[in-house]
């Protein structure tokens, strides 16, 4: 594979496999780290969605909608729907690339389950 092919392949892997243009929706330079309670899991293609409730600076609870890779991404890394649904109501740590509209939503970069297991969604989501 020549250099161009390798690069173009990498680019295509990012663009083509992703459901939409992630860089258009999420700002990879705007990182957010959350520690909160996982409250909901929507486990389906082409992306997974979860909600995490986080205590804000003033003590109020903020609800964050986080978007993750497809279920198959987790399946081939030996994480399943049960790992996430079993974590509902428990504390998780998430690092996100925040949505460009500055809403409380973002794209998962890393996700730490209550068991301490960390799943990296990079490079697909980085």
């Amino acid at each position: 594979m020549n250099v161009l092919l390798a690069l173009a392949f990498a680019m295509f892997a990012t663009e083509g496999v992703a459901h939409h243009n992630m860089t258009a929706t999420f700002d990879f330079n705007d990182r957010v780290s959350l520690t909160g309670t996982l409250t909901k899991v929507d486990w389906r293609n082409p992306h997974t969605y979860m909600t995490v409730e986080v205590k804000g600076a003033n003590g109020a609870v903020e609800t964050w909608l986080i978007e993750g890779p497809a279920p198959s991404f987790f399946r081939i890394r030996d994480f399943g729907k049960a790992d996430f649904e079993g974590s509902i109501g428990k504390t998780v740590k998430v690092e996100l690339s925040r949505a460009r509209d500055k809403s409380r939503s973002g794209l998962i970069r890393t996700f730490e389950l209550p068991t301490g297991k960390v799943i990296s969604a990079c490079p697909q989501n980085c």
Binding site: M1, V3, F9, A13, V17, H20, S72, P123
Partner: protein, 635 residues
Amino acid sequence: MKNSGWVASLFAAAVCLAQGPVPAGNEAKPADEKAKAVSEAKAKQNARRFENSATIITFVDRYGKLTGRLGERALYDQTALSPDGKRIAVIKEDLPNESADLFILDVETGASTRLTTSAKTEFVMGPVWSPDSKRIAYTTIRSGQEGIYLRAANGEGPEEQVYKNPGAFLNLSDWSADGRFLAFAKSDLKGGNLYTLPLSGTEHNPAEVVHSELRMFEPRFSPDGRYLSYIVLDQANKAEVFVRPVDSAAGGGPWQISDGASSPAFWRRDGKALFYVARDQSVMSSEVSTSPAFTFKKPEVLYRQQSAVPDNIAYISADGDRFVVLPRPRGPQLQQITIFNREGQMVKKVGEPARYSPPAFSPDATRLLVTKMDLKTSQQDLWTIDIATGKSTQITKDTFPRISAIWSRDGRHVLYSSMRNGDFGIYRIPSDGTGSEEFLFQYTPGAGLVLSDVSPDGKSLICESGGVILTVPLTGSDAKARTAIETLREEFDDSTGRVSPDGRFLLFRSDEKQAERFEVYVRPFDPSTGKAGEQKWQISKDGAAAMLHWRNDGKEVFFRGLDLDSNDLRVMAAEVSTSPAFHTDAPKMLFKLPGPLSGTLGSVTSDGQQFVFAINVPAGKPDANTPTADSRHLP
């Protein structure tokens, strides 16, 4: 379709990526036994991939003479010769670990030094040498964070991170001759940027050289550091070599050097020539000057390979005298289109050997649809071939990449998915070679989109994106207003939807039972709503690769079976009935052919009696019009 070879390869690679590995398994087995079976299947798959793709680093001079081979047979990606020519940096894939790492090979002795050890699924890219050949810069991901790192090329000492990339797939491509800067590019659907990165001081902040709405790659410094050569991918995905000043205030440029490129540009050590690989894999040389201002002359062929199917040239030395080549494991090959009967006996050869994708029968089985590569330009176009006469008709004549081409139900059109400006859409074009392309449907910007069928009444498209099967009613005259119905959206990857002749059932693949191992299923389908029903019948038992097809009476389905132990193509069939209720018999193998060999959705005639494949054959000598090794002098 016209398209450079590497872009086409990219699509093929992406399709493979989307399909992924196919480990075996059995849901009835205990967890540890199942895990063992998956592991064994992955090992077999890896062994197969290695056997089919591993190659050896080879050096040739510009007279075509083999000057040496280096290292072990492996899966090599990027290569970079050290400025002193004594070592080569290579990225080598580790299939079991799903990673890629950097190695330094001594050209004289073949001794190998491993510089990185990536975690599972992480990888190293873009090795570049320091001008004194003592250090290497590269990008890699560590715990989900991509960065640029430096390390001594002899492997001593720790690596040093000099830049954290907030995104991914940063394209590191050069180290300036004065040792003060690195050059890299970042590109996405919104365009590209070229940067320089200062290495002095403690803060390493990149400086943007230029932004473009087009994607850009591989910026490389002229030896005097005043100019950058780089690659631009135009909107039709055609790559060209450009040069521009590093300091935009200096004025002038950009200058387009190439007329079609398939590699970055390599500056000659004295800065007086630029080398690059043309689309036909010829090494080109352009005489240039960078002082007092940049000038260049029309590129000329420096070296042209003698093979009818040239090997990939991976790197050009700084003196233009040596080329790093990664030869094809099985040697140069063409494909002979060949038709078989249900017993696997050859019925007919169609046309002459060429570089073909898997062909597809027209609905009346009189013509074939195929993607053919022009060996001189590496461009790919859609063609139809009359089976009786062998006469070929060119259907597309532009550089846009196209995938998943299929016939319309009446055979009057060819439909396909194509990426334009980063977005996928479905298009159709008359199959007789007349008329122009018609845009049919635009999906979510940036999302991949593969076409798998047209409904029997011709009023809907069946597509897939991100593991979701979609139905697109071709309503109204405003193609941009058309929307997709989610026919089948689950937590599994569903793909390759094929509607039964009576329109009531959907044949498809899913990895429901085990991630990345696909089986063939049937569900009820309601053409009026585009929705799949809840019932589901499993057709295949031992895995299915592709080639899903209904016989035109709806009483038999076909698919390509998995074979993890060989490259053989296994043609499978199962008798089914759709009335009064759906029923399937156990699938059986009709025949198998030695591979590597691919099948496509149109590999089977409508009546299920004949099968067509593009059989690999050794490439002969180049034709009389193809020049042999060139011995032009350097400018």
